[in-house]
């Protein structure tokens, strides 16, 4: 149990990310790759993800404005997006990506649009949560410099 109040808050935030289904086991894998030499690895990957995937989201948005839908192209974009989301452990986003792809495969345009709206919502929610989480993590600082009386 964390004695430091910031660390305790951080642990609670982290747990809720899992409990609410926003992230899965892959997120733990990322955390395990973080060490003294790479103390901000998780934040770096997540930041990179949001930057990189913004481009794909835009592509999909533009593709959804062209009728009739090019389902093959939409599916290809979503395949990319799903891959990245999966790599960072974004569980709900990944699940929504799967639904979108299923709609593409069955040529369900309405389904694609609905799914995409839902996906964008979750994507934005997760971004906010990550933002708050990493901000607090930076406040908490690296474990080694915990306030120990000298």
């Amino acid at each position: 149990m964390e004695r430091n109040p910031i660390r305790r808050q951080l642990a609670i935030m982290r747990q809720s990310l899992f409990d609410q289904g926003h992230v899965d086991e892959q997120f733990v894998q990322l955390e395990e790759l973080q060490d003294d030499a790479n103390p901000n690895f998780v934040e770096e990957v997540v930041t990179l993800y949001y930057r990189d995937s913004a481009r794909i989201i835009l592509n999909i948005e533009q593709a959804l404005e062209r009728k009739p839908f090019d389902f093959r192209k939409l599916d290809a974009y979503m395949h990319q997006f799903k891959g990245s989301s999966s790599s960072i452990g974004a569980k709900k986003v990944k699940a929504e990506s799967t639904l979108f792809r299923e709609c593409c495969k069955s040529g369900n345009g309405e389904g694609c649009m609905r799914s995409f709206q839902q996906l964008k919502k979750e994507y934005a929610t997760l971004r906010k949560k990550f933002g708050a989480y990493f901000q607090l993590a930076r406040q908490a600082g690296p474990v080694e410099t915990a306030s120990r009386p000298k």
């Binding site: 894998q29 790479n38 990179l48 891959g83 790599s87």
Partner: protein
């Protein structure tokens, strides 16, 4: 003091190929965590370029419409130079789904190359398609990893690298045994 050149025998160089920025960052970190030296590129053609293999080499002409008849196919001398420069690659790990050249295409080209056919190739894919997996393994891939790739997967790489290393050791064996003999004081 006739000391052998102190080459770090455990440092293997892995060439990682993936068009996804996120996955490149991940695989790089995974490999470095496992003490591998890493070069990450974003396409099959860049991988071939890094190895010193010309994209238009003699064996591959099916999809190559722009084949310039004046282009020389890369001689094995050039490949050897690339290896000798110490940029030697000990293993290639590649994503399957990439625009242009797929990981499977890359695998085929590597296996056709006289200089690089013995480099172990590992394929990664986010899609669990048994026929795809079997085809890759049958055509020379050592392993097939499902994405997201984890540390436990990367730990499976070392045996494949050690296999190749034992071939190298035969040539440096004399040096090693000399060291052993003289260190016995």
């Amino acid at each position: 003091m006739g000391m052998a050149i102190d080459r770090d025998d455990t440092q293997f160089h892995v060439l990682a190929v993936d068009d996804s920025l996120i996955d490149r960052k991940l695989i790089e970190r995974l490999l470095k965590t496992s003490s591998f030296q890493v070069t990450a590129v974003d396409s099959g053609s860049k991988a071939l370029e890094f190895l010193g293999l010309n994209n238009n080499d003699a064996d591959d002409d099916e999809e190559d419409e722009q084949r310039d008849s004046n282009t020389e196919s890369v001689s094995s001398d050039e490949d050897q130079d690339h290896q000798d420069l110490g940029l030697g690659v000990n293993l290639i790990i590649t994503d399957y789904c990439m625009p242009g050249m797929t990981g499977y295409d890359l695998l085929k080209k590597i296996k056709k190359s006289s200089s690089f056919k013995d480099i172990p190739v590992v394929i990664m894919s986010s899609e669990n398609i048994p026929s795809r997996i079997n085809r890759c393994l049958e055509d020379g891939a050592e392993e097939f990893f499902l994405k997201p790739v984890q540390l436990s997967d990367v730990n499976k790489l070392r045996p494949h690298l050690m296999k190749g290393r034992s071939k190298d050791i035969d040539s440096s064996h004399k040096t090693t045994s000399t060291r052993l003999i003289t260190s016995g004081n």
